[in-house]
């Protein structure tokens, strides 16, 4: 995982309210606007906002509340999402495409395809997911600015 915190040029933290589907996508859209204003290449913006959207939706769908932090460094972008919620009992299983614990209500809204975490992995260069059942989940991902992975 990208280190050298002293190189962080920009940091902003956003609060995410669990269960609030009406404002879903608001945080990732703010992330996208920040990156746009900063003049990052389109593909970097697209990959980061897709991963941020999926992470934001996970907090909305499964947690009571959480925070998403965006860090901008000269060579990478990093997003850290921490939530307070039910957590993920088996992280490896959760990473498997198609696996989902979504409720009927969540599925009716078109979420819960079991593709969110794998979409994050696909769109980022590094991803770390840890969770304690009943406590919450901690997700970090990094996108390198000099190494453009394909979507």
């Amino acid at each position: 995982m990208a280190e050298a915190e002293e190189n962080i040029r920009f940091h902003e933290m956003f609060h995410i309210e669990g269960g609030n589907f009406m404002s879903a996508g608001a945080i990732s859209s703010r992330v996208k606007n920040i990156l746009k204003k900063a003049g990052f290449p389109g593909q970097i913006i697209r990959r980061t906002s897709i991963a941020a959207f999926e992470a934001e939706m996970n907090v909305i769908c499964y947690a009571n509340q959480g925070n998403l932090s965006l860090f901008i460094a000269p060579n990478f972008l990093k997003v850290v999402v921490k939530d307070e919620g039910i957590g993920i009992p088996d992280v490896n299983l959760a990473m498997r495409e198609g696996y989902s614990t979504a409720t009927e209500k969540i599925r009716e809204l078109g979420f819960g395809a079991g593709m969110g975490l794998s979409n994050i992995k696909k769109n980022t260069d590094e991803m770390i997911l840890t969770s304690e059942s009943g406590q919450g989940t901690h997700l970090e991902f990094v996108i390198y600015l000099d190494n453009q992975k394909k979507e």
Partner: protein
């Protein structure tokens, strides 16, 4: 083929994004699962779905889709319309169900990505 051509050819009704119908359509994707659309749609695609809530606009904006067609006579939520106007995403509606509409679009040359 532009969104405008598609609106004309298929008798669709435009509910939002009237000023953004000139974009060339690069293909289509049909799904009601948002993460599936995020994973497999491509820039400039037309998205065919029965989902009507504001998150469809968030997905379309993020993936830079050309527009969204709601099938089976479904109407967008008021918040969806507002968001679509704000983001400039065309929302079109059709009384026809997804399978039939996709078939008609395909016949007119709008195709999807094939993994094999």
């Amino acid at each position: 083929m532009t969104i405008f051509d598609i609106v004309q050819s298929f008798g669709l009704e435009t509910r939002a994004g009237k000023d953004h119908l000139g974009e060339e359509v690069t293909g289509g994707y049909a799904s009601d699962l948002l993460s599936d659309v995020i994973a497999h749609s491509r820039k400039g695609n037309l998205w065919i779905t029965i989902q009507t809530h504001p998150n469809i606009v968030a997905v379309a904006t993020m993936k830079e889709l050309a527009g969204i067609i709601l099938t089976g006579g479904r109407e967008p939520d008021p918040e969806t319309l507002q968001k679509a106007e704000d983001e400039g995403i065309p929302i079109l509606v059709s009384p026809v169900f997804t399978f039939e509409l996709v078939g008609r679009l395909y016949q007119k040359g709008i195709s999807g990505l094939s993994p094999c």
